[in-house]
C-alpha cells in the first residue's frame, strides 16, 4: 500500500520493475559521476601538453608525475592546502560556537529587542552577496588593510546568519522545562548552555560543522579577492591560477582539481550520514 504497487502475488514482476528502475538510475548516476571519474583517471597521465595527449576513458598508465608537476608549479603549493585547512577549521569552530550561543539566546532567553533583532537577521539572508561584496572589499582592503592575512579570509564568515537560524530552529525544539528546572537548581545561563544545550544538540552541530567546513574549503570568490600573494592563497585560488598559467597541461590540471576535491570526498564518505541529513535540516521543516 504505497505509491508503487507491491506485487505481492507475482514476485517476478516486482523484480523486473525494480531492475528497470535501477538501470535508469544507474544510467543517470553514470552521467553524474562521469566528470569526477574523468578527473581522477586523467590525473594519473603524463604531464605533457594536451596537443599530444588524447583522452582515454580507461587508464592505460599510472604515474604520479602530474601531481608532482602541479606541486612544482609554485613553491607555495603545499601552503595552499594548509591555508585552506586553517581557514576552514577556524571558520567551522567559530560558527559552531557563536551560532549555537546566539541560537540558544534567540530561542530560549527572553530579552529586549529579541524579535526585532532576529527579523533583521532573517531579512539580511535575502540580500544577494553582490550587494555586500564591494563595501566588504573596501572595508577589508582599504580600511582595515589586512589583505593577504588569515584574518581577512576568516573574519567575514566568523558566524553566518544561516547557521544562527539553523541552531535556533533546533534549540527551539528542546523542552523549556529542562532549562527552567536547571535554573531552579541554581544553574547559570552559561552552565545551562554548556551542560544541557550543547550535549542535546550534538547532531545538529555536527551537521553544521561539516557543511560549514565544506563550504569554506570550496569557496573561491572571497579568497580570490583578498589574496594576491601565492603564499596566502587557498587551494581553490591556487588551482585557478595554475589553470590560467598552464592552459595546455591537461593531466596536471586534473591532478590539481583532484587534490582540491579529494579531501572533501574523504570527509563525505566517512561522514555521509551527517552530510545527507544536513541537506534536509534547513529545508523540509523550514
Amino acid at each position: 500500500m504505497a505509491l508503487f504497487k507491491r506485487h505481492t502475488n507475482r514476485k517476478s514482476i516486482l523484480y523486473i520493475r525494480n531492475g528497470i528502475i535501477i538501470i535508469v538510475l544507474l544510467a543517470f548516476a553514470l552521467a553524474t559521476l562521469f566528470p569526477i571519474y574523468f578527473m581522477i583517471i586523467s590525473s594519473f597521465g603524463d604531464p605533457i601538453e594536451a596537443g599530444a595527449a588524447s583522452y582515454t576513458l580507461w587508464p592505460d598508465k599510472f604515474t604520479l608525475a602530474s601531481y608532482k608537476f602541479f606541486f612544482d608549479y609554485s613553491e607555495h603549493s603545499y601552503r595552499w592546502l594548509i591555508n585552506s585547512f586553517v581557514v576552514a577549521a577556524c571558520v567551522t569552530v567559530s560558527n559552531v560556537l557563536f551560532a549555537s550561543l546566539a541560537g540558544y539566546a534567540f530561542s530560549k532567553i527572553r530579552f529586549r529587542g529579541r524579535s526585532v533583532l532576529f527579523a533583521v537577521l532573517l531579512c539580511a539572508m535575502m540580500i544577494p552577496y553582490q550587494v555586500t561584496q564591494v563595501p566588504l572589499y573596501i572595508l577589508i582592503v582599504n580600511i582595515f588593510q589586512i589583505e593577504n592575512t588569515y584574518a581577512a579570509l576568516i573574519a567575514p564568515s566568523l558566524v553566518t546568519v544561516y547557521n544562527i537560524f539553523l541552531a535556533k530552529q533546533f534549540i527551539s525544539s528542546i523542552p523549556t522545562e529542562i532549562i527552567e528546572s536547571a535554573k531552579v537548581e541554581g544553574c547559570s545561563q552559561w552552565k545551562i548552555y554548556a551542560k544541557i544545550i550543547l550535549p542535546l544538540s550534538k547532531t545538529v552541530m555536527a551537521v553544521m560543522a561539516i557543511l560549514t567546513f565544506m563550504e569554506s574549503w570550496n569557496t573561491f570568490f572571497w579568497p580570490f579577492l583578498v589574496t594576491n600573494t601565492m603564499e596566502m592563497q587557498t587551494i581553490q585560488v591556487g588551482l585557478k591560477n595554475f589553470r590560467f598559467a598552464n592552459t595546455t597541461y591537461f593531466a596536471p590540471m586534473m591532478a590539481g582539481a583532484t587534490i582540491s576535491a579529494v579531501p572533501m570526498f574523504i570527509l563525505f564518505f566517512s561522514l555521509q550520514k551527517y552530510f545527507l541529513e544536513g541537506v534536509t535540516v534547513g529545508a523540509v521543516k523550514g
Binding site: 505509491l3 525494480n18 532567553i109 530579552f111 533583521v120 564591494v134 583532484t258 555521509q272
Partner: protein, 301 residues
Amino acid sequence: MMARLARIVKKRIVSGDGGWAYAFIAVALVVFALFTAYPVIHAFMISFQEYKPLGSTYVGFDNYVHSFEDELFWKSIKNTIVYTALTVPVNLLLSFGVAILILPLKKWLQTSFKAVYYLPAVASGVALSVVWLWIFDPLQSGILNQAAAFFGIGNQNWLGTSATSMFSLVLMAWLSSHGTSIIIYLAALIGIDNSYYEAAELDGASFFQKLSYIVIPFMKPTTLFLLVTGIIGSFQVFQNAYLMTGGGPDNATTMVGLLIFNNAFKYFEFGEASAQALILTVIIAIISFIQFKFLGNDVEY
C-alpha cells in the same frame, strides 16, 4: 502560597537573563553589523557616488541611469533569465523524477543513490569547472565532441561560439547540481502518509492517478521552496561563467553576477557595480514575491 512562590521564581528565571542573552549574541551581532549591515548601508551610499579611494563625488542617480541605458546590462539580464529558465525547471523535473524512482527501492539502495547523486555538490566549483573545460575541448578528440560524433553531430567549439556557449553552461548545471534537490524531494516523498495511498487504492486509483492527485499536491511546498531558492541562486550565478567562458564569446554568457563582478573588480567602477547589485536585489525580491503570491497561497508551513 506555593503557586505565588512559583510565579515569583519563574519571573526571576525569565527576567534577569537579559545580560546573558546579550553576551551570547554579542559576537554574532558584531560580525553581522560589521560584515553585513554596514556593507549594505555603504553599498547604498556608494551607488550614488563616483567612488575614489580618497574622496568620492556624489553623482545622484547617474549610476542607475547609466545602468539602465547600458545595452550590456540588459543583455546580461536576458542571459540570466535564459540560464535560469533552462536550468531551474529542468533540474526540478529531473530531481522529482529521480526521487520518485528511488522511492520503491530498499533502504541501502536509496542511501547509495543519494550519496552518488550528491557527490558533485561536494567537489569544489573550481575543480568541476576545470574538468568540464576539458570535456568541452573543441578539438576532435574532446570528450563531448566524441559523444556528439557518435550521434552524428559535427565538431563543435562548445564554449567558443555564441550559439553553443550558453547551452554548454546549462548542460553542466543539469549534470552537477541536482543532488540537493533529489534528497529534499525524497525526504518529502517519504513523509507522505501511507493512508492516502490506501484510500486511493480502495477507489482503484492507478499509479499515475496517485501521482497526480496525491503526490504532486503534497510536493507543492517542497517545489515552491526549491523553485524560489533555485531562482535566487541562479540569479547570482557568477563562478562557472567567470571560470569557463569569462562571459564570452561576445558576452553571450555574461550574466548579471558576472557583469557586477567585472564592473567592480576589473574596471573598479564601484559605484556602478553597487547600483547594479541593488537593482538585482529588487529584481530578486519581486520574483520571490510573485512566486509566493501565485504559488504559495495554499501552501502551509
